[in-house]
């Protein structure tokens, strides 16, 4: 195992971000900030019903409204033979049969299946005119019974969401060795059982989704500005599967994007419709979601019901894990909706532990709700929540310390093959736990608990020792498991004649700070100032074909592609330098921005080589092309495995059920760190979303009508500044063994590790009062009910 050396000096420094000046002075350019000449505005008419047949649509009044340019419905898209929105991952069920893939029409075809489903689009001169005209569109619905809960949807007699998916089942999937797991349970000293819900969340990037399409009749080309995390994927799916357009005639630009968290990975109906409509009306067409639309139409996250059982020997050593999960996919398969509760979930159930036998079954259901897809962590938070909750419960049942039961079961030898398909390359779970216990001052906890007790408050400590699989993904493995796309990344290094550099990456930054981190990587390697490197992303017209940003993959996969391109730059630079220095190529060394003849003081700076490449007067033109511009594609050899320990300390007021997080400590192993400031910021943000899930956030539908009850910031509890504590974060480094930077990725860890830490802490605080179980979010009412011994399942 050759751990890559932590490289040059610019790496590891908290360089202040290059992108910040524009964001701080109002100079950011988000999709809605782009205005094109002659722009028109789209407004989508959405279903007010969760489930209904469309009997008739009468456009005439809407068409006559002031400023209206066009009104399109599903009949118009059908007449143009528009395809459905594709799903990017084919899951095969327990019998090897393909999942049910009912059509996902961009505009409804005779039936609506969730509140917010797109029924029609109005295009008008102004946004207000389009919105006014929407009020005049007459749609006759025959309202049908709806089902919003996945458990209910799978029961006999439930309303059927799709004709092509009997019993609302998309697939019943499994992973692991059932017989071996059953055998492990047969010899168990003790079995811990748990039934838990992973609450449904709404991503809520603060920039609402937006799309602005322009069709140029002169050269039959399209330009789509869209708030999106992976513009090449967006283009490929849209051109090849939905609109049947030549890919080279479509340019997708994802300019500044105001947060994604997964919700802007997907190809959405609105993106497709405005692109199509821009040709129909021969005008640029802009659509920007308002927040209510965002709640109804952005893909949601989580929504699992799980029964899990953990078999142990008398010492608390894990023998087997059995998990049965029911996952809600929503009304349609979103772009990666099928992969989240399967390969991004079941594969993570080994966690940091040596559990030798694991078997998981996932029953995935269609319901009359907004589609569910990847949201920060995507499957991995769900797996971590199941595992870390059951492990803590097991500790209580076995009368073991929360940390001790984890230590007894940690994987300590690497590489480690789990029973659920993954091969962990490296990690050091014990050191993360030790460091986190110091950071959280676990030693001082009993005194703090006693002090709180005097004030009538209950203190608790909760652990989560999580793992995630990031750096998606080896394309061949993903392909064998059903992925319908490659998962490599592309990078291009364009050296300018004067030695400054523009980097083109297929990764996309929507808050992560790539413009700085990637510049640090390049500057360190080439020995030039960070200011001499600019990073370009988010434009299919400028970058090589890349797969974008999700699954904490940017630095591990995108950064690796850049390193590969830099290898080529360095190799060519050595050839040029050898010529300039009249030495053998094998004698040239490149270090600190200089090409040197080994053992001599003869050298030429990087800028000199760059100049020579573009002004090749003294240049080996017979052997070498001029120019210094290299592209590389990198396909990862394995996933990366960030891991760590999160410890929450809470104080509960037993009179009111109010929970206060008094301390939150996280020690994460992300491998080598390029910019510690940015990494800490990513952890903070992830923690806020994880703590948000544990304490506040909950997407609630009315069980009968299927109406979204939490459809605004008045009803959906977004974490605000006063809801969160300051965080104590630190890292422990074991460099990834299989990528050139030794990095693992840090974007999702906070959201993955923190929810079970918080819930375990509250259960720990309330265990003396007899509380054994709690569901997220931990609202005062739920906590108070649990203390009173009352049912906690309240809406």
């Amino acid at each position: 195992m050759n751990a890559p050396e932590k490289a040059q000096s610019a790496i590891g420094a908290s360089v202040r971000r290059k992108e910040d000046y524009r964001f701080l002075t109002g100079g950011g350019k988000y999709t809605d900030d782009v205005t094109l000449p002659g722009q028109s505005y789209a407004y989508f008419v959405r279903s007010p019903h969760a489930h209904a047949k469309i009997l008739k649509i009468n456009k005439s009044a809407a068409l006559k409204a002031p400023g209206v340019i066009a009104v399109y419905t599903g009949d118009d898209t059908a007449a143009d033979k528009m395809g459905g929105l594709p799903c990017g991952w084919l899951i095969k069920d327990v019998k090897g049969e393909p999942m049910k893939e009912p059509p996902h029409p961009p505009l409804a075809q005779g039936k609506v299946r969730h509140v917010g489903d797109q029924v029609a689009v109005i295009i008008a001169e102004t946004y207000n005119q389009a919105k006014d005209a929407a009020e005049l569109l007459e749609v006759d619905y025959d309202v049908l019974p709806a089902v919003v809960d996945a458990v209910e949807a799978l029961k006999p007699g439930a309303p059927q969401v799709h004709d092509g998916a009997p019993n609302n089942r998309c697939y019943l999937w499994s992973l692991g060795d059932k017989a071996a797991t059953d055998a492990a349970f047969a010899k168990a000293h003790h079995v811990t059982k748990i039934d838990i819900t992973n609450n449904r969340l709404i991503p809520n990037a603060i920039e609402p989704r937006a799309a602005l399409a322009h069709y140029n009749r002169a050269d039959e080309s399209y330009t789509l500005y869209v708030a999106n995390q992976n513009p090449h994927v967006e283009r490929l799916l849209m051109t090849a599967f939905v609109l049947g357009l030549p890919e080279h005639k479509v340019r997708v630009i994802a300019p500044d994007v105001g947060g994604g968290f997964g919700s802007k990975i997907f190809l959405y109906a609105e993106d497709v419709i405005v692109t199509w409509a821009s040709k129909k009306v021969n005008r640029p067409v802009k659509w920007t979601a308002d927040r209510s639309e965002a709640f109804l139409s952005d893909a949601h996250g989580r929504d699992h019901h799980t029964h899990a059982e953990l078999a142990m020997d008398k010492d608390g050593k894990f023998l087997g894990l059995r998990v049965k999960t029911i996952a809600n996919l929503g009304a349609y398969l979103s772009t990666f909706g099928s992969s989240v509760p399967t390969y991004l979930y079941g594969t993570l159930l080994a966690g940091q532990y040596t559990t030798p036998a694991i078997y998981v079954e996932v029953d995935a259901a269609f319901t009359n709700t907004t589609p569910v897809d990847a949201y920060r962590g995507a499957g991995r938070p769900e797996a971590t929540y199941v595992l870390e909750r059951i492990v803590s419960q097991a500790a209580r049942e076995m009368n073991l310390d929360q940390a001790e039961i984890r230590r007894r079961n940690f994987i300590t030898a690497f590489p480690y093959q789990t029973p659920v398909a993954l091969m962990y390359d490296i990690g050091d779970y014990k050191s993360c736990l030790d460091k986190a216990q110091k950071l959280a001052d676990v030693a001082g906890f009993p005194a703090r608990r006693a002090e709180a007790e005097k004030r009538g408050k209950k203190r608790g400590l909760g652990y989560s020792t999580y793992i995630e699989a990031c750096g998606l993904a080896p394309s061949n493995i993903a392909g064998a498991l059903g992925a319908r796309a490659g998962l490599f990344e592309a990078g291009e290094i364009r050296v300018h004649p004067t030695g400054s550099v523009t980097v083109f990456t297929g990764s996309h930054s929507h808050g992560q700070g790539h413009e700085t981190t990637f510049a640090q990587v390049v500057a360190a390697r080439l020995g030039i100032p960070v200011e001499s490197v600019d990073v370009v992303h988010g434009d299919t017209g400028r970058m090589p074909f890349g797969m974008g940003t999700y699954g904490s993959r940017s630095i591990a996969v995108g950064g690796a592609a850049i390193m590969k391109a830099l290898d080529k730059i360095e190799a060519k630079g050595k050839k040029i330098a050898a010529h300039l220095l009249e030495a053998a190529e094998s004698d040239i060394e490149f270090k600190d921005g200089k090409f040197t003849v080994a053992g001599t003081d003869k050298s030429v700076p990087f800028g000199g080589v760059a100049f020579s490449a573009y002004v090749p007067h003294n240049y080996p033109l017979d052997k070498l092309e001029p120019g210094l511009n290299e592209t590389a594609f990198y396909d990862p050899g394995n996933f990366t495995y960030p891991a760590g320990t999160h410890i929450a300390e809470v104080e509960v007021d037993p009179e009111t059920g109010v929970v206060q997080i008094v301390n939150f400590s996280a020690v994460d192993d992300f491998g080598n760190i390029i910019n510690p400031m940015i990494v800490e910021g990513q952890v903070h943000g992830g923690l806020a979303q994880g703590i948000g899930q544990a304490m506040l956030e909950n997407c609630v539908y009315d069980q009968e009508t299927g109406q979204l009850l939490t459809g605004s910031y008045m009803d959906y509890a977004m974490p605000r500044a006063a809801d969160l504590p300051s965080f104590k974060v630190d890292t422990h480094v074991t460099p990834c063994t299989h990528n050139p930077l030794g990095v693992k990725g840090c974007g999702e860890a906070g959201a993955i590790g923190s929810p079970p830490a918080v819930v375990n802490a509250v259960i720990d605080a309330l265990a003396p009062l007899g509380v054994k179980h709690l569901e997220m979010p931990l609202t005062p009412e739920r906590v108070w009910r649990a203390i009173q011994g009352k049912p906690t399942k309240v809406a």
Binding site: R17, L24, T25, D32, I206, Y713, R720, L724, S726
Partner: protein, 159 residues
């Protein structure tokens, strides 16, 4: 259709004939092309649209432009120095990594400056957290925003 309105935006007087329904934020973004002021929720919850009206922080998504006849409006584009040098609060956000995607940032900076104006240069963590209740950030977890506001407030002394 159309109502005349005249207001002063970032020191410049602007007169326009507008749809009376036009929101202040639409006037700023669409009519003035000052796109640093953002719309995050259109219900006065998230604070991305925060601007100053006669020196006080106002959520421009929930007010009509015609309500502000003669008012002095300052947007995020109007707080930096003449040569583009950042306001101390902007500089503190950069220094403390108080922003990620940048979308809530202009409103957050405006609210932070307003907080300092109302409560002075020495702000406790709790005062900042409570004072920013009307601004939602989904990226940072607020940890570094709190640090930035504390630093920005200190650096605003005498500004």
């Amino acid at each position: 259709m159309g109502t005349s309105v005249s207001l002063i935006i970032n020191g410049k007087t602007v007169t326009a004939n507008i749809d009376p329904r036009m929101l202040l934020v639409q006037f700023i973004r669409e009519h003035m092309q000052l796109t640093g002021t953002h719309i995050g929720c259109d219900t006065a919850q998230c604070g991305a649209c925060t601007v100053f009206v006669n020196g006080n922080a106002v959520k421009s998504c929930s007010a009509l432009a015609v309500q502000f006849e003669g008012a002095q409006i300052t947007t995020i584009e109007g707080i930096a120095g003449a040569n583009g040098e950042m306001h101390p609060m902007q500089a503190a956000f950069k220094e403390c990594h108080g922003l990620q995607c940048g979308f809530c940032t202009p409103g957050m900076v405006m609210s932070a400056i307003d907080l300092v104006k109302r409560h002075g240069n020495s702000l406790s963590e709790q005062a900042i957290r409570e004072g920013l209740d009307g601004n939602i950030c989904r990226c940072t977890g607020y940890h570094n925003i709190v640090k930035a506001v504390q630093q920005g407030a200190a650096n605003m002394k005498g500004v």
